[in-house]
Symmetry: C2
Subunit: 191 residues, 2 copies
């Protein structure tokens, strides 16, 4: 039996998307965002939702560029700090000791230490009141060797990328394998 | 040292969003979608990306309504089946034995057996070529008792909701706790 609850507009799991931008003075800044997802496969596009009050919002509108940096579990504290402090007041790279690198394809910095980085160009900006939804087309992807298998294919299965529970407000590791996609459901076909 | 790879526009983790709609004959249908996320907090809004070729695409345009049903790990096979078969040819509820229930707030069915259900009304439709991004405002949320703690608050921490790795193409369980959000990052403040 289901119970009606308040308007809890949440999804589990949330990704942990660390968004890199340049501020108006060219200072690299990062913001952690849990509201976002893949928006299209072709052109490969990522959506991120950012409150207008956030310092990165101005940068996104002005540069029309951002990076998406996926962290591993050992960076949980840095990632959390990126979300609770404003780049107006803090130099988040200096404080954490992480390294900004100028993007190759877009006017935004990425984090050298994070293993998976997408460079995105803003193609759509949608005002959704509390948040603005920015859709960015992926212009380039860089990964660390640790994510490449011996054939050069990306594999993040063993990389322990960080995940987020927005309801419990905690970070989690990837969990154990449950089933192979595009396979386990075949048992229902031709029933 | 980072290596450039192809345009791999993916995020880890992906959610497993089972989307309920009514087809033109009023038949309840479900589609599993991994491209999506929270789009705004107020009004609470969810984005889902659906290929124009999918049967649900027509229903989303016509009814401007959908449900988002979050599965637990024991429904991995059903969820997978919902993604690999078209509702044009199959009655996915009948095949799997799951129970469609008419939504209370929108013109879309939800899955009785799934513990967390959001009813959404489409507010924005954005053509992104390979996928259409539908943004739905959350009009009501229903949860099973199993997600309610003794104070009536929602908690899905122990519910083993299903997660997805779009690169490895497998389903995973939630992983172990790493850190408390809005807390662990405070160690960098006033450094």
């Amino acid at each position: 039996m289901k119970k009606n609850v308040g308007i809890v507009g949440l999804i589990f799991p949330s990704p942990v998307l660390v968004i890199g931008t340049y501020d108006i003075n060219g200072k690299p800044n990062v913001l952690t965002v849990a509201w976002g997802g893949v928006a299209s496969s072709d052109p490969a596009s990522i959506s991120i939702a950012v409150r207008p009050s956030r310092y990165s919002h101005e940068a996104l509108l002005r540069t029309k560029a951002f990076t998406v940096n996926l962290p591993t579990v050992q960076y949980a504290a840095e990632v959390d700090y990126f979300g609770i402090v404003s780049g107006r007041k803090a130099n988040k790279f200096a404080t954490t000791g992480l390294t900004p690198v100028r993007g190759e394809h877009v006017d935004a910095p990425y984090i050298a230490e994070f293993p998976y980085v997408m460079e995105c160009e803003v193609t759509h900006t949608i005002d959704l009141n509390a948040h603005t939804l920015f859709i960015g087309e992926v212009k380039g992807v860089k990964v660390d060797d640790v994510l490449l298998d011996i054939d050069g294919n990306i594999s993040w299965e063993d990389a322990r990328l960080l995940t987020f529970d927005a309801l419990a407000r905690n970070y989690r590791a990837p969990g154990e394998h449950i089933a192979q996609a595009y396979q386990v459901g075949k048992k229902f076909i031709s029933r």
